[in-house]
Amino acid sequence: MFMISSINPTIKAFAVLIPGILLGFTFDVFTPLVYFIFILLVTFTLTDIPVIKWMKIFSPFLLVALGFAWMTTLYANQTFSYGDVLFSLWGIEVTTGSILTGISLAFRSLCFVALSLLFALTTDSTKFMLSLMQQCKLPPKITYGVLAGYRFLPIFQHELQILRQAHRIRGIGRTRGIKGRLNQFRRYSIPLLANGIRKAERVAIAMESKGFTGDTDRTHYHKMTVEKKDWLFFAMIVGTFVVVVGMSYYFGYLNIFGKQF
C-alpha cells in the first residue's frame, strides 16, 4: 500500500473535505462513530504519525466535543428531542433523542478533527501551495505571494521579542486594567503590522526585479503530479463514507436532519 504523505495534497484535501461536508447531514450515532473508527484505522496504518504526538493534539478536542454534546443535549429543539423523557435538569427535559443527537454531533466533530489531522500531519505546506497552483490553477502571483508571506512568520516572532525588549529598556512596563491592555495591544500590534507591510512592499519589488511576472504560462522545478494511487486514496476515503452511510441505512440507524430512514 501507499503512505498518505506521498498523496497529492490537492487530491488529499478534497478527499478529506467531502466526507467532512456530507457528515453534516447525519444526526444518528452509528454513522459518525463507524466512520471515526475507520479514520483512526487509516491514521495508524497508512501514516507514520507517532501515536503519542497524535494523542497530544487530539485529546483537547475530546473535551470540546464533550462540551458540545452536553450543550446540544440540553438545548435540543422539538425535532431532535424525540423519544422518552429520561430525566429533567433545571426544568429542561432530557430525552433519548436529545442525548443521541448530542452524542452524534460529538462524534461528528471528532471526525472533523481526525480528518483534519490526517491532512495536516502528513502534508508539507510548500507542496500544498505548489499543488494548488499546478492542479487547481491558482494564479502564481497568489501562490508565491502566500509562500513569501508565510516565510515571514519566524521573523515576526523575532520582531515581537525586539519590540518587547525595546519597550522594557525604555521603562514601559506591563499595564493593568482594560484601558491599559488596549493600549498595550496597540503598542505591539501596530508596529508589528507596519513592519510587515514594509516587508511586503520590499519582497514584491525583489520578486519583480528578479523577473517574476506572475505569468501562468511558466515552467515548474517541482512538478506535482496526480497518479493512480492518488485517486485510489480518494476513492478509499470517500467510498468508505458512502459504504458507512449505506450500512447505517441497512441497519435502520440512518437519521438525516432528525428524520429516521
Binding site: 480528518l115 483534519s116 491532512f119 495536516a120 502566500v146 514584491a204
Partner: protein, 201 residues
C-alpha cells in the same frame, strides 16, 4: 481579477493573512476560555459567539486598505490557507469556511460597486459575514438541532460581534496603520494624503 492587483498588494494580503491566521488560531483558545467561564451560568453556547467577529476582521482590513474588487474575499481565504499551512488541527474544511465568510463580506462591498468604504459599510460587511457564517454553522456544526430561542439569541450576539470586532475594530487598526505612513503606496494611504493636502491648502 488578479491582473488588477499589483504584486505588492497580493503580498500585503498574504502578510495580513499570516498575521491574522495566527490570531485566528489563538482565538479558538480564547473562545474556549470564555466558554469555560460561561458554563456555570448556563451560557456556554455564547462563548464563541461573543468573539466571532474577530474571524472576519482580515476581510475588512484588506478591503479598507486596498479598495479593489475581490480583496475582502481573497484576504479571508488566504488567512484560512495560512491557518492550514501552520499545520495545527486546522484542515481543508477551514478553507471552505474562509471562502464562505470572505464571500459574505465581499458581498456588501460588491453592492456598493467597491466605491464606498465608510464605517457603516464596513460594519454591514462584518454583519453580513456574521449572518451567512451563522447559516453555514446551522448545517456544519449541527446547530440546527438547537432550540429556536437560543439560536436567535446566538445570532444577535454574533451580529453585534461582527459589527464591532470586524467592522469597527478593523477600521480602527487600518486607520492607526495609515497614520504611521506605511500605507502611502495603497488606496487608504493615498486618500489620507489627499485629505492632508486639501486640509493644509
Amino acid at each position: 481579477m488578479t491582473n488588477q492587483w499589483k504584486l505588492k498588494e497580493i503580498v500585503l494580503m498574504s502578510i495580513l493573512g499570516v498575521v491574522f491566521g495566527v490570531i485566528y488560531l489563538l482565538f479558538f483558545l480564547v473562545g474556549q476560555g470564555i466558554r469555560n467561564i460561561l458554563v456555570p451560568f448556563g451560557l456556554a453556547p455564547f462563548g464563541y459567539e461573543i468573539i466571532f467577529g474577530v474571524w472576519f476582521i482580515v476581510s475588512i482590513i484588506a478591503a479598507y486598505i486596498l479598495r479593489k474588487p475581490g480583496v475582502a474575499f481573497t484576504a479571508e481565504v488566504i488567512a484560512a490557507v495560512v491557518e492550514v499551512l501552520l499545520g495545527s488541527a486546522a484542515g481543508p474544511a477551514l478553507i471552505l469556511t474562509g471562502i464562505i465568510q470572505g464571500a459574505a463580506a465581499e458581498l456588501v462591498f460588491a453592492l456598493t460597486k467597491w466605491k464606498d468604504y465608510r464605517l457603516r459599510i464596513l460594519i454591514l460587511s462584518g454583519m453580513s459575514a456574521a449572518l451567512i457564517s451563522f447559516v453555514w454553522n446551522l448545517y456544519s456544526s449541527g446547530n440546527i438541532a438547537l432550540a429556536p430561542g437560543l439560536l436567535i439569541a446566538m445570532l444577535i450576539v454574533r451580529l453585534i460581534s461582527g459589527a464591532l470586532l470586524a467592522g469597527v475594530l478593523g477600521k480602527w487598526i487600518s486607520d492607526q496603520l495609515a497614520k504611521t505612513g506605511v500605507l502611502r503606496g495603497y488606496a487608504l494611504g493615498k486618500e489620507l494624503q489627499k485629505k492632508r493636502e486639501t486640509g493644509a491648502a
